[in-house]
């Protein structure tokens, strides 16, 4: 089975976000594999171990994205592809990512593509479904369980806390939700082996794309941090008075009523 994982590096969840000149400051920040993509890597490895085949992790990023790919290789993926857009693209959006991936998959044979449900940075959740659409294959999002039997795939899908049972067939793209599995730690033998596993680096030129083909369809107007949380206020008095004051504050001060 040819299994692919779409992987994105994101800020470490411990990292403090700072913005300067309308751009998120990346200098010195620690990056990790997007946690939802980790579920995808883990699931890919488990499915490969059960059904045979190869796991290839694909990322679009810069030179530093190699670290996250090596981590996926250390977890047990077989191959990695880095599509390095550092020199070619100044900006991109979900359209850009989908267009690049579509070109990448054009000459590939794939049975199963796994992605995270969302990336924890921009949280669009678009790339997986949009890529499936472009490749014209089935797509199930937010999966929490998957069993493959021949071409038939039985899936549990999380629907706002409820479970929907879905049956579909390969080739297939799924996006992975929390609860699907427990991603393994890269073991030390895994880390040492990862050094020797193939990591291919491509530029958009290698995919017969140029800048215009992947020009973003959206424009980011402004980036800002959420307002700082202020100290809470205790409302005192009899319950009836408290309610009255609270409603008053919600109307006049918070202006939400």
């Amino acid at each position: 089975m040819n299994i692919y994982v779409l992987l994105k590096k994101t800020f470490d969840t411990e990292e403090k976000i700072t913005i300067s000149n309308g751009i998120i400051e990346e200098d010195g920040a620690e990056f990790i594999i997007n946690p939802y993509d980790e579920y995808a890597v883990e699931e890919a490895i488990k499915q490969r171990d059960e059904h045979g085949g190869d796991v290839t992790v694909v990322t679009i990023g810069d030179e530093d994205s190699e670290k996250q790919l090596r981590t996926a290789l250390a977890m047990g993926a077989d191959k990695a592809v880095l599509i390095n857009t550092e020199d070619d693209l100044e900006e991109g959006d979900q359209y850009t990512t989908t267009a690049i991936l579509e070109a990448f998959f054009a000459d590939k044979a794939y049975d199963l593509i796994l992605a995270g449900n969302v990336a924890i940075d921009e949280a669009s959740g678009q790339v997986g479904p949009r890529l499936a659409e472009r490749l014209d294959i089935a797509c199930v999002t937010t999966i929490t369980n998957m069993e493959i039997d021949g071409d038939i795939v039985k899936i549990d899908k999380d629907v706002e806390g409820d479970v929907e049972k879905v049956e579909t067939s390969l080739p297939l793209l799924v996006t992975c939700q929390q609860g699907l599995n427990d991603p393994r730690y890269p073991s030390l033998p895994g880390i040492m082996k990862a050094k020797k596993k193939p990591l291919e680096e491509l530029e958009i030129d290698d995919l017969d794309l140029d800048e215009d083909d992947v020009e973003p369809k959206t424009k980011t107007i402004e980036i800002f941090l959420p307002p700082e949380k202020e100290a809470g206020r205790m409302i005192e008095g009899e319950p009836a008075e408290q309610v009255k004051e609270l409603v008053g504050l919600l109307k006049n001060e918070a202006k939400v009523l």
Partner: protein, 594 residues
């Protein structure tokens, strides 16, 4: 190998050599693999061990066994075990990083350290092929767990005074061991004990003793001040039957094993100390940012900042020093052939070359940890005294580090003792240097260092080395063979020697970083180095003065004190301002950063 590199490799040579940043290995040299190994360890400790700490503190040791087996699956027990025996055979930087990250696990780090270090390494280094084949694959996977039994009720630092005995039985098949070993880490569940006993009451030897052998038992669990997450019991040997093939190393040569293993144990404790200190800084910083008094976070008070600045600068110097030692092992082992690398004794010998460095790292880093844990409690105020806070446990857990693997006092005495031995044997030109120094001091004119980064620090380092030579030279001259009775002077010399090693490690690390990535990116490293070197130099001056006053009197003393003044004359930096600058960055990051 060229002569210059050979010099670099010598233990203790730092006192007489001038090095550059390129001569040492620093944390900035770690590879991506090293960082990944550190990350896996940290994720394992935080994700698997920390949630179980309350159980471990309650002595539910089935969790210790379970966690060690899980660690084994990840390869965290096999780093020092050669590949051919089921381990990974990785470098010493990898195993050091694992040790550092395990320090986050409180008392469980002692459980892990006792298994992979003093428990397994005697077989790695000194086992014969059959012993290695029998035990190492299972120790690397965690199928077997190990412990180390040297201490007895009446022999601690005086390890060779052990009373446990071994006697060959009549059939010549088994040694019969009798005795009691005390304070044995992992004893609740260990399958294999490295036990020292005297054959026929005189030949100090090491044995591999399995728990299931007839006559082997353990006493009740000890009630300890700290590291309660680790098991500590007595190992009782009552006519214990140990097969002859389980004699480890040669009969009567057990001390070779014991002392080499102690060297390794010492630098590993030092690394754990640095890891613990980093955690202490993190806990303290998060707390002082959150805690408000007088309407403001207490991190905004400059006395809080003074504490954070000192903690961080001291951590930097000790981190630099201990990885400098690890780097020395690496460089030394790089010179070994593949054949020699497979021979554990050669590896142990390479480590033993640096017993001075191991001892210095041990007392400096364990005292760093105690100091940081103490200040971290202080910064927590009354909350630091409460068990809900991690610093409370850290404070108790920290204390043992100054005691085990050779008390810090024993380690201090070893440093000048070993240096003088090396000097007598002609391995280090210490005495010649001390002699020429006395002449030099007569005509010495004070220098004014330049204002480029690190110039002042290098100037102080140069004179700091002279302070050691001055003190050691005078003491050796006056007391000669009887110097070993002057323990106070030896301790001062040990302090000064270790300060020199730390100062130099910090300077060289910062110099290397400055050369590679420039001043902008290394502002904090420079601040740490400036603060540490200044304060270490002040401490050294006091120690040196004390030695001079103890050794000399009258005109000689006045002359020596004037030499001391020449050597220590300089314009000190403003450490208060520098510590505030350090603290600003630590408070922002809420952890130790470089």
């Amino acid at each position: 190998m060229s002569e210059t590199t050979e010099k670099l490799f010598k233990g203790g040579a730092f006192l007489v050599e001038d090095l550059t940043g390129e001569d040492v290995i620093t944390p900035e040299d770690f590879t991506e693999e090293h960082k990944m190994i550190a990350k896996t360890t940290e994720e394992f400790v935080v994700g698997e061990v920390v949630p179980k700490i309350d159980n471990l503190e309650n002595h539910e040791f089935e969790h210790s066994v379970d966690l060690l087996k899980k660690a084994g699956e990840l390869g965290l027990l096999g780093v020092d075990v050669p590949e051919e025996y089921g381990g990974l055979g990785l470098d010493k930087i990898s195993s050091s990083l694992i040790t550092e990250k395990f320090s986050l696990a409180g008392g469980f780090s002692v459980t892990h350290g006792a298994h992979v270090g003093i428990g397994s390494l005697p077989i790695v280094f000194f086992g014969n092929d059959a012993q290695k084949e029998t035990y190492l694959p299972k120790l690397a996977s965690g199928e077997l767990l190990a412990a180390y039994a040297l201490t007895e009720p009446s022999s601690g630092s005086d390890a060779l005074g052990a009373k446990a005995t071994a006697k060959l039985n009549e059939a010549g098949t088994h040694y019969i061991l009798n005795g009691e070993k005390q304070w044995i880490t992992n004893s609740a569940f260990a399958d294999v004990f490295i036990v020292y006993a005297k054959i026929d009451g005189e030949h100090f030897s090491a044995f591999i003793v399995e728990r299931d052998y007839p006559g082997v038992s353990t006493g009740p669990e000890e009630k300890k001040m700290g590291i309660k997450s680790s098991s500590t019991r007595t190992l009782v040997l009552e006519d214990a039957e140990v097969p002859v093939e389980n004699l480890l190393g040669e009969k009567g040569r057990g001390h070779i094993i014991a002392f080499n293993i102690l060297n390794v144990g010492r630098y590993k404790l030092a690394i754990g100390g640095v890891g613990g200190a980093k955690r202490g800084i993190e806990l303290a910083t998060k707390y002082v940012n959150e805690r408000k008094q007088f309407g403001t976070p207490i991190s905004s008070f400059s006395l809080t900042q003074e504490k954070l600045g000192t903690m961080a600068a001291n951590t930097y110097a000790n981190e630099s020093a201990v990885y400098r030692t690890v780097g020395l092992f690496e460089q030394r082992m790089g010179a070994l052939s593949d054949e020699q690398l497979k021979d554990g004794r050669e590896v142990a010998k390479a480590i033993a070359e640096y017993q001075i460095e191991c001892s210095m790292n041990k007392y400096m880093c364990t005292e760093l940890l105690d100091y940081v844990a103490d200040e971290a409690v202080q910064l927590h105020g009354g909350y630091g005294f409460m068990q809900e806070y991690e610093v409370e446990r850290m404070y108790r857990d920290s204390r043992i580090n100054r005691i085990f693997e050779g008390t810090n006092e024993i380690n201090r005495l070893l440093v000048p003792g070993t240096l003088l031995k090396k000097a007598m044997k002609g391995e280090l030109p210490l005495l010649q240097k001390a002699q020429s120094l006395q002449e030099e001091l007569m005509m010495m004119m004070p220098e004014e260092p330049g204002s480029e980064p690190l110039e002042q620090e290098k100037y102080l380092l140069k004179n700091a080395k002279k302070l050691v030579l001055l003190g050691a030279g005078l003491a050796a001259q006056k007391y000669m063979q009887k110097l070993d009775r002057e323990q106070e002077i030896l301790a001062n010399l040990a302090n000064m020697t270790a300060e020199v090693f730390n100062m130099e490690a910090a300077i060289l690390r910062t110099e290397k970083a400055l050369n590679r990535t420039g001043e902008d990116k290394n502002e904090l490293k420079l601040l740490y180095t400036q603060v540490y070197v200044q304060e270490a130099f002040n401490r050294m001056e006091a120690d040196a003065k004390e030695i001079l006053i103890a050794v000399e009197e009258g005109d000689n003393l006045r002359m020596m004190l004037s030499s001391l003044r020449k050597l220590t004359r300089h314009t000190p930096i403003n450490v208060i301002a520098k510590k505030r600058a350090i603290a600003a960055q630590i408070i922002e990051a809420e952890k130790y950063i470089v």
